[in-house]
């Protein structure tokens, strides 16, 4: 036997880990497919009635699309800001660079409640008309999602050989052309991963949204929470199914994009 074997203990731990992560998802999916009247687990028979209920619910659908729109808007701005910040951090040798990096990444470690409350108090006390608007919510989501972009793009830049950009410059490219034609294509996977992260983080964001959203434009997680507070109804779980599907689809999509590219390059190798 030359095969490398995984020690039994590790295998068991890995299986437990997977189960621990997958179980909540399984619970939500099965609960959303129940045939019964109430949100129970295990489900009382399987049916699509609550999925249908979700699809015909004005409230859920509008919050689903609101979240989708908000996540897209957040993704765009976070990707641009986060990429710019990561570039700055990787290029500067200013004193206090490490402190600045920590500061940029701090929204990830700060409790969302704190960030949400701080913004809420700020909007109210300054009266700049952002409280309970999509713009105020957008700002909160950008703040919360951008660090993920900084992280992934920063990792891509750490692996990027800056002499490529220098070579482009001395071959006659302006700073912007060298960036666009050489640096950008070589860190694009990091940017793609970062933007997907930003989308997912925004789509699932709860605490910040809790403070900043208004009753007539609720993101999906807030809508699910509000609905579950008053009636324990499986359509919330059905909404969860759609949210999970969307997230998985976006991850698979990037995966596929990236894989497709390597696949194409292999074909060109002709070897």
């Amino acid at each position: 036997m030359t095969e490398r074997r995984i020690p039994l203990v590790l295998a068991i731990l890995a299986i437990l880990g997977f189960a621990y992560m997958l179980l909540p998802i399984v619970v939500v999916v099965l609960a959303g497919l129940t045939a019964g009247e109430f949100l129970t687990f295990p489900p009382q028979g399987l049916s699509l009635r609550w999925v249908a209920a979700f699809l015909s619910s004005e409230k859920y659908l509008s919050s689903f699309f609101f979240s989708f729109k908000l996540a897209l808007m957040t993704m765009i701005v976070s990707t641009i800001l986060g990429t710019a910040a990561a570039l700055f951090l990787s290029r500067t040798n200013m004193v206090g660079r490490a402190a600045m990096r920590a500061f940029f990444l701090s929204p990830v470690v700060l409790p969302g409640v704190v960030v949400g409350f701080a913004l809420f108090a700020f909007y109210i006390s300054t009266g700049i008309g952002l409280s309970r608007t999509i713009w105020g919510l957008w700002i909160g989501h950008i703040l919360y999602s951008t660090p993920y972009v900084i992280g992934t793009v920063g990792a891509a830049l750490a692996a990027y050989d800056t002499s490529l950009e220098e070579a482009a410059r001395s071959l006659g490219a302006s700073p912007w052309r060298a960036f666009r034609k050489v640096t950008l294509p070589n860190i694009s996977q990091g940017i793609q991963a970062g933007s997907i992260f930003a989308f997912i983080v925004s789509f699932g964001q709860f605490e910040v949204s809790l403070f900043l959203s208004s009753p007539n434009s609720e993101p999906l997680p807030i809508a699910m929470y509000n609905s579950l507070r008053y009636q324990f109804d499986p359509s919330a779980a059905a909404a969860g199914i759609f949210a999970i599907t969307l997230v998985i689809a976006s991850v698979l999509l990037t995966n596929r994009l990236v894989n497709l590219r390597t696949l194409l390059e292999r074909r060109q190798d002709g070897s």
Partner: protein, 348 residues
């Protein structure tokens, strides 16, 4: 006046001085090497000339024009990096076309020039490959073609052979030199390998700790080094301690003639003699030797025999070509050491 000039150029990083008040004059068309141990400031010098880092003080001139503040893309200087920096997301063709595209040339011209460049470096038919499908030597050729195709005024090479294996290195040494000669481009070559510098250069600047110690032809650098550091850094050397005296250097009880033996009588100096310039013979009554000694050790190395000879408490290494007509001298044998007077150099 030099084609490329450094005037009092210093570069500091924080408190450390990478390049220290450097003055350089490089002629048009010259193959000029910067030679020195790792960390002595060679790459920094090159990067200042390419425009990637700005000097802390001093100025850099090309053709009499001050280029110190020009961005890299305005300098007309091509550089080949140690790791070649081939754009991994582009084909070989697009890599070489890059500079031409940036110059806004039309597609027909680009195609013609890139194909010619590929042929020039012996990579015809490699245009559609990517970086990861190339060997080290091929990457090197692509990097060179990418630079030469835009016909820059100056070519910079930063340790271009250090990533290759030994055999490839030998081959590329001559190949680069030939290309440089046929194109006639002013070339500045950075290396820590003395044999590369000696083989390829018209002139060499030897650097240490951010300073230039000596500038000269390979012959001057090898045969008339101006310091012990250079004598030891370049080639193999015997450095015998002695004192200056009229007509040469006194080593033990013997006075040996030496070049560069200027200075106060009795000053401590080292006498440099290269191991291959010494002739070793059994002691005879004839011609007076430079020194006499006793063989302490002999090592057979195929093409030559390497002897360690004890003389007055100091050891001299001698390399003798492995020829049947030359006497073999076993350890313990009394021997005489001969060399021509020009081979000895006094160094302080």
């Amino acid at each position: 006046m030099g084609f490329v000039q450094f005037k009092g150029v210093t570069k500091t990083f924080g408190k450390s001085v990478a390049v220290d008040t450097m003055d350089l004059d490089i002629a048009r068309g010259e193959f000029f090497s910067l030679l020195g141990p790792s960390g002595c400031g060679k790459s920094t010098t090159l990067r200042m000339l390419a425009g990637f880092v700005a000097p802390s003080t001093g100025s850099i001139h090309v053709h009499g024009r001050d280029i110190t503040r020009l961005p890299p893309e305005a300098r007309d200087i091509g550089i080949v990096f140690q790791n070649y920096a081939i754009f991994p997301h582009m084909t070989v063709f697009d890599n070489i076309a890059f500079g031409l595209v940036e110059r806004g040339e039309n597609r027909a011209d680009i195609k013609r020039k890139v194909d010619a460049a590929l042929d020039q470096v012996g990579l015809g038919g490699f245009g559609e490959r990517f970086e990861r499908q190339l060997s080290g030597g091929q990457k090197q050729r692509v990097a060179l073609a990418r630079v030469l195709v835009i016909e820059p005024e100056i070519l910079l090479l930063d340790e271009p052979l250090s990533a290759l294996d030994k055999k490839m290195r030998e081959e590329m040494k001559f190949w680069i030199k030939n290309i440089q000669k046929s194109v006639g481009i002013t070339t500045i070559y950075v290396t820590h390998d003395q044999s590369e510098a000696l083989t390829m250069s018209d002139r060499i600047a030897v650097m240490n700790q951010g300073r230039i110690l000596q500038v000269g032809s390979p012959v001057e650098i090898y045969e008339r080094p101006n310091s012990r550091f250079i004598a030891e850094f370049i080639g193999e050397s015997n450095l015998l301690s002695g004192r200056l005296t009229a007509g040469g250097v006194r080593v033990g009880d013997t006075v040996v003639p030496a070049a560069q033996a200027q200075g106060a009588d009795g000053a401590e100096v080292a006498l440099l003699i290269r191991p291959e310039q010494i002739r070793l013979e059994p002691v005879t009554e004839g011609e007076a030797p430079m020194l006499t000694g006793r063989v302490a050790d002999e090592v057979y190395q195929g093409a030559l025999r390497r002897y360690q000879v004890e003389t007055g408490g100091q050891t001299v290494t001698v390399e003798v070509p492995n020829r049947p007509d030359l006497a073999q001298l076993p350890p313990g044998a009394e021997v005489a050491l001969y060399w021509t007077p020009e081979s000895g150099v006094a160094l302080r």
